[in-house]
């Protein structure tokens, strides 16, 4: 019994990180209707930025979150403005191919610059743990959990309480309708992509303190973001939370009861099952066409 509670704690901590990490992916899919295959590599770029800031300027990885977020925001807007906008009017496959190519380009560039070495950001609080009776909670995971929760909440406020957030949701719900009432979709696309990439970069900070990373981690992360989006449903903050927690708990329980090596397999299997039986996710409604 104790062990189940312990596993649930682990799953909750991990799941919240997944939720925050996937938000950007889910947003650009739900709002602009593009699948960004380079998303995981964006997270990895954030992790490397954190690494440089930490090793060269000794800036704590948690304090550099605003920096990586801003860098991601700029990178995302440039990406949308100069690359994605150009192919958006063609069939959806073009965007897929574009982001696929971008992923290869970026991950190999990282490999050229940083080599294939596993890098890690070794902060002093990384090895400590809290003990609550029989339960153990790693300090760094708890910090990442709290930060993910705060950032996710901040995004929720942004999406529901600000004009920009409402505009994003309006465009996601009905492109034509929103332009009729004076919202310019192309501007919203730009902001969404910028915001999404900012989220990706800054979740790189959290990823970097959680575990070691290499230039080629992006693929796995993209698949995770994909699963979170499918399970939860698209474009909404609460859907990402549901999806993230689901994935976190699924991974933890699979590694414990079936074996670490089955984690990825199970993840893909569940994704397949969702696509077949519940393609709109746990919280229903495909965002883009939702009534």
């Amino acid at each position: 019994m104790e062990i189940i509670v312990q596993l649930l704690i682990e799953g909750l901590l991990l799941g919240t990180f997944y939720a925050f990490m996937s938000l950007g992916f889910s947003l650009s899919w739900g709002v602009i209707n593009i699948l960004n295959l380079a998303y995981g590599t964006f997270v990895v770029i954030g992790a490397y930025m954190t690494y440089i800031l930490f090793t060269a300027l000794s800036i704590d990885p948690l304090l550099s979150i605003p920096l990586t977020f801003s860098a991601g925001f700029l990178f995302g807007s440039a990406l949308q403005r100069f690359l994605i906008n150009r192919v958006l009017s063609y069939e959806p496959f073009m965007v897929l191919i574009l982001t696929f190519g971008l992923d290869i380009f970026l991950s190999h560039s990282l490999n050229l610059i940083f080599k294939a070495d596993i890098r890690s950001v070794d902060v002093s609080y990384a090895e400590k743990s809290f003990f609550f009776g029989p339960f153990i909670v790693s300090q760094v995971k708890l910090i990442v959990f709290i930060l993910s929760l705060l950032l996710t909440f901040a995004l929720y406020i942004l999406m529901t309480r600000t004009w920009t957030g409402r505009a994003i949701r309006a465009v996601a719900l009905d492109r034509e309708g929103s332009s009729l009432v004076g919202v310019d979709p192309s501007k919203v696309f730009l902001i969404t992509m910028a915001l999404g990439t900012g989220i990706a970069f800054s979740s790189g900070n959290l990823y970097a303190v959680l575990q070691g990373f290499t230039p080629f981690d992006g693929g796995f992360l993209t698949v995770k973001a994909f699963l979170v989006s499918i399970v939860g449903g698209l474009g909404r903050v609460e859907s990402a939370l549901a999806g993230g927690l689901f994935l976190g708990i699924l991974e933890i329980f699979t590694s414990f009861y079936i074996g670490e090596e089955w984690k990825f397999f199970t993840t893909l299997l569940v994704m397949l099952a969702f696509l077949i039986f519940k393609p709109r996710g746990l919280l229903g409604g495909k965002y883009y066409a939702e009534a």
Partner: protein, 391 residues
């Protein structure tokens, strides 16, 4: 006067040995196995410098200076295979010095075999390498199951006797092989195996495995993996406050970077080694094991451990075979290797018909005071057991 004489002598040597024998190696200088790869390269480099300063390799009546072409395989077996193919086909190298890591050796071996080149390696220990019927692959490492076997043999010889063991391993041909060696021995010795489980290559978080170990409270924890895994396992054992009496890790403890990465936490951890600098053998080019250690220290500023020694030993086996064969033909060199029984700083080198070394034993070291010291099968220091709790 002496200077001039030395000058003339060196000039004579260079002219005398003006022919060049090119060797090639694809080794991990980046990626997961970079630490081990760099040590292996040091072993090759020391041998090369030494041989060249002695006038090169004597093959028949000719003397050859040695050159080694290196490529970085990025710790990726597919890249190793590609680079070895490049060495053979583009750089026209016939004799390959092995890569680091069983998976890399295994991938490279197929290519070497295809082109009828020859590889001598001190970087791969999986027994799978020798089960393919390859004829041109020779290795100076004892096979991987010996790593696990030696750790268990040491553990059960200690008092108070341990009763249970947890074995975790990286999903990789070397580590799985080593873990199975430990499993087999543990069962033979009547230990209770409470956990035997793998984790995927490159995993960076072993939380669920740690939770399991924490729940089962084994006396012995064996981790089969490579350098990076060893560091990760120690960090996470500490993070989860798991305090077994005996922690043994297959690759890691003897590597200098292990103590550097873990500091005090590296203390009292056991690790099997292919070779120890405390051995005592005669050597044809370094004089003795001691002479080897001295030369190594002079060139690199630290003591050699077994990854470097394996590299030197592999290269030296090739050199001795070339000299004995008096030919650069792969076929004759292969025969010379098969019939070899040579004493070197590394131990006696001799191979069976599959190409694996059968003439030497392994040892186990423990980190004490920041340094690996040999504690098994001979005790240069007494092993510290049970291991004190994490601080």
């Amino acid at each position: 006067m002496n200077g001039i004489l030395l000058g003339i002598f060196l000039f004579a040597v260079t002219v005398w040995a003006s022919d060049v024998l090119k060797l090639g190696a694809a080794v991990s200088f980046s990626g997961k196995y970079a630490k081990e790869g760099q040590l292996l390269k040091k072993g090759y480099e020391l041998w090369k410098e030494r041989v060249n300063s002695l006038g090169g390799i004597k093959v028949g009546n000719k003397r050859y200076r040695v050159e080694i072409i290196y490529y970085d395989d990025q710790s990726d077996p597919k890249t190793t295979a590609k680079l070895i193919e490049k060495l053979i086909t583009q750089d026209k190298v016939r004799f390959i010095l092995g890569p680091y890591g069983s998976a890399q050796v295994f991938a490279g071996a197929g290519v070497v075999e295809k082109y009828d080149a020859l590889m001598v390696q001190g970087g791969g220990a999986s027994s799978k390498i020798y089960k393919q019927g390859y004829r041109h692959i020779f290795g100076v490492f004892n096979i991987a199951p010996d790593y696990g076997k030696n750790l268990i043999d040491l553990a059960v010889s200690l008092k108070p006797a341990p009763k249970s063991v947890a074995i975790i391993y990286e999903k990789d041909i070397f580590s799985e092989d080593a873990a199975r060696g430990a499993l087999k021995r543990a069962k033979e010795k009547g230990l209770k195996v409470v956990l035997f489980e793998s984790y995927p290559k490159g995993a960076q978080d072993l939380s669920s495995l740690m939770l399991k170990i924490r729940m089962k409270k084994p006396d012995i924890v064996i981790g089969a993996g490579h350098f990076k895994d060893s560091v990760l396992v120690v960090k996470q054992l500490k993070q989860f406050k798991i305090n077994p009496k005996f922690v043994g890790l297959t690759v890691g403890p003897p590597v200098p970077a292990f103590v550097k990465a873990l500091g005090k936490d590296a203390e009292y951890i056991f690790g099997p080694v292919q070779w120890s600098k405390e051995l005592n053998f005669k050597d044809p080019i370094f004089g003795s094991t001691e002479g080897y250690v001295k030369e190594f220290r002079k060139m690199f500023g630290h003591d050699p451990e077994y990854h470097s020694a394996g590299g030197t030993a592999a290269a030296m086996a090739l050199q001795l075979a070339l000299e004995k064969a008096e030919s650069l033909e792969v076929k004759k060199v292969r025969e010379a290797l098969l019939s070899m029984k040579a004493e070197t700083f590394y131990g006696v080198i001799g191979f069976d018909s599959t190409g694996k070394i059968v003439t030497k034993k392994m040892a186990v070291v423990q980190i004490q005071g920041g340094k690996p010291v040999t504690v098994f099968p001979f005790e240069s220091r007494k092993p510290v057991y049970p291991k004190p709790e994490w601080k």
